[in-house]
């Protein structure tokens, strides 16, 4: 029914009926092979590490991170009332539903395979992907990569296998971009991480087709804490796509991921996300990349689902001539708060960056852009441009913009502009005078508003995102 977190309009009618508005909200019976009790303690952290037979250094980092998480207060900014509702003692921190990570869909347990088939993942893999990893609850259940890429030395594994097979590479880069002490939720992730992707692209290799990870939470009160590390060696390039869905439950789940990108000189990483969690999921994610000389990092970030998202993809422009782009869209519906944005730090000379953020609030939803751009005193001739636009579609919805710009070098050229508006009556009138209904016209205007984002997505995603937005717009009029 959905693909890469994006929903197909035509699909399983039974599931649609079961979940109402949210089209990926069905759940399967929980058949776990290992399930930890609710709650978090040092013991739980050590048990997760032991279960995974990890090296001692990883156990040590986990324990340190757990201590930091316990001592660190909750953030004193953002939607504090929603954050305070998170009950860390009522979350399952590790749940495994399959004994191993398979390389053939036929070997994945049937119920889990059915889930991913309903989400359209195997079909997408055959058509247009270089590799796929599918994570169900805490562990990856399926993993594959095209043989030709494997022969060129591209490593695409789930993070646990990455740690087992390439401990030296993981040790070198793990926590190097996002230290566990960065924030409360990065500490939580480092303490209990499980799953995620580990990618290494060797020097000069270009991975032409995207690789995809698909994350699914199925159980109630589940915590998913995947950890992703992508290293693009000199002159290489890769496009990584991730999608996420979860069933609709009345109780809350927590998704708190950490993603670290390392773009070595001259490389290019593009990281695309379509987040379509159900509206009972807290999505508190730390994503950051370091760009070395002449490297380029792009975050393409779509936030459509979740109860509260707090996500500010960041790039540290460490090497001269490096470039960062963050293109994001957010849709906030009833009961949702999309608190998203971007952070870019210009540490080196001749670095450039661009942030484009688009948000739509509807049915009482709240969309927030929160961003930060800094230029350090030693970074000469930097250029940066930030644009954020918001549409408020009805009464009771809200849009906020909190951009911060700190410039300590006089040669920097920095521009920021933002606007908040409603859908223009002139545009609606024009489209309706050409024979479209008001609802169709609104959907077209919204798709047009999101167009700078959708054109950056692979075609299959873009088409489905447009259809998804049309669905979300249903019933907007009258």
């Amino acid at each position: 029914m959905a693909e890469g977190g994006v929903i197909r309009v035509s699909g399983d009618s039974e599931a649609r009926e079961a979940v109402g508005e949210y089209k990926a909200g069905w759940h399967d019976p929980e058949n776990s092979t290992i399930r930890f009790d609710f709650g978090l303690s040092e013991e739980v952290v050590r048990q997760i590490s032991e279960l995974k037979e990890e090296p001692e250094w990883m156990t040590d980092i986990r324990v340190k991170a757990f201590k930091h998480f316990s001592e660190r207060p909750m953030p004193t900014w953002g939607n504090m009332s929603m954050l305070e509702e998170i009950d860390f003692e009522n979350i399952c921190y590790y749940l495994k539903s399959s004994d191993s990570t398979e390389r053939d869909w036929e070997d994945v347990p049937e119920d889990i395979r059915n889930t991913f088939e309903r989400l359209g993942i195997p079909e997408a893999e055959q058509k247009w992907l270089s590799g796929v990893t599918a994570q169900y609850e805490s562990e990856a259940v399926y993993h594959s990569i095209r043989e030709d890429l494997e022969k060129q030395g591209v490593i695409f594994l789930d993070m646990d296998s990455g740690l087992k097979e390439y401990p030296e590479i993981v040790k070198k880069w793990f926590c190097s971009v996002v230290p566990y002490s960065d924030n409360k939720f990065s500490a939580l992730n480092t303490a209990v991480w499980s799953g995620g992707s580990f990618i290494y692209v060797p020097e000069g290799v270009h991975v032409e087709m995207p690789v995809q990870a698909y994350f699914r939470i199925n159980a109630k009160n589940m915590g998913q804490f995947e950890r992703t590390l992508i290293i693009a060696d000199k002159g290489s390039s890769i496009h990584y796509v991730e999608g996420c869905t979860a069933p609709s439950y009345s109780t809350d789940s927590l998704h708190s991921a950490v993603v670290e990108l390392v773009a070595l000189p001259g490389s290019h990483i593009r990281y695309s996300t379509i987040q379509n969690w159900s509206s009972n999921v807290y999505n508190l994610v730390t994503k950051r990349g370091i760009a070395h000389e002449d490297a380029k990092i792009e975050w393409v970030d779509g936030n459509i689902g979740s109860k509260l998202t707090m996500k500010y993809p960041a790039v540290i422009l460490k090497g001269e001539g490096s470039h960062a782009e963050v293109i994001s869209v957010a849709y906030s519906g009833e009961g949702q708060h999309q608190d998203a944005g971007a952070k870019i730090h210009h540490l080196a000379s001749n670095t450039t960056s661009k942030i484009l953020s688009k948000s739509i609030s509807k049915n009482g939803g709240r969309g927030t852009y929160r961003g930060m751009v800094t230029v350090s005193p030693k970074a000469d001739n930097c250029k940066l441009n930030v644009v954020c636009d918001a549409l408020i579609l009805d009464e009771g919805s809200r849009s906020d913009t909190y951009p911060t710009m700190e410039v300590a070098n006089p040669s920097a050229r920095c521009e920021h502009e933002a606007s908040v508006s409603k859908v223009s009556d002139d545009q609606l009138f024009y489209l309706m005078s050409r024979g479209h209904s008001e609802e169709e016209s609104l959907a077209m205007i919204v798709n047009g508003f999101f167009e700078p984002f959708t054109r950056e997505l692979p075609m299959e995603y873009a088409v489905e995102l447009n259809q998804l937005m049309a669905l979300e717009m249903e019933g907007s009029i009258g």
Binding site: P75, T76, W77, P377, V386, A390, I392, L393, D394, E395, G396, S397, R398, S399, D400, T401, Y402, P403, T404, M405, E406, V407, A408, N409, P410, S411, A412, R413, C414, E415, H416, E417, A418, S419, V420, S421, K422
Partner: protein, 367 residues
Amino acid sequence: MDSASQYLSMSEPDKSNHLWKYTPWRRIHPTGKIAEIPELASATLSLSMMDGSEIPPGVSLVRGSGGDLDLSMDNALTNSFLHAMSNSSNWLLVVESGFRLESPIILDVQTGDVASVAHISLEIGEMADFELVTRVSGGSDWFGLLRTGNIGSGTILNDVLIGLQENGTFLRSDSIEIGRDAQVRAGTVSSGSERTKSDLRYKLEERGGGIKVLGSILSAESMHLDHHIEIHHEAPDTFSRLSWHSACGGDSRTIGTGMLQVSKGAKGADAGQIFHNLLLSDSAEADSIPELEVMENDVVGCGHGTANGPIDEEQMFYLKTRGFDEKEAKRALIAAFLNSTLSEMGGEKLHEWLVGELTLQLEALHS
């Protein structure tokens, strides 16, 4: 609860709060011991006319009681502190309804040579039309100024504050409510004081009210100038523009944070803010946070922008080809940059007077 008790009941603000991100309360407090409310001297206030004429009837400055404060917003810390200290320095500036005057009124605030404070309550009547310049000068090492009050319906007011202190710290807080169809320009010209923390808040409480907030900020040496401006649209058809120009030289740092808030029900609100920063030296820094909170969908528009950059090389080149030397060209471009907001603050006379004051400061910057 009185202001002193209110202040003492509050905890030290957190740096994660944008309002206190760049200038912690501890650094701006007169003694640095934040649990203290020191007794400070009273500033001396006097009225005069820019053209040297007598103060006309309809405007008066008297000692006042200070009255009650609205301490519901997050400027409560600053306001309760200033209010608590200004017991013996409360002033009431009353302008009668229908008062009209062409020549600007100057309100001189002499800070003296020791740490001092003043609270000015503005009571501006309806349908008045005049210009007011508040000139702050003196050699005190710490000065606190609280301005509260209302601007009556239909009044047209150009209200400019120029800071010419020789050094020291300046803590300023304005909380002004703007009536129906009133049109206000609130200008700030700042180049004095080594450290400034200023919190300016304007409430558009009634239909049709409008405000333009303008800043011409020149920082040099090791100055640290932190201005926060909030405009609250609480009624339909309200209009606001915030335009803030800062030129930063030496090792100075200027901070401009803005908050445009459009409440639910403020249909037809039209709000915009822009921060421009001109960086003049390698070690100067300019920070901006133009924030928006919009809770009404039926708005004309809400926008904001920031632009930072050095002096434009092409403009420099042009002036040099016309015979300016490097120093003159730079000075002309800085003056033009600051003048673009300065020129909007009031009428011709006021503008000329402000240019004169600012030129002296520019001379000092380049000398």
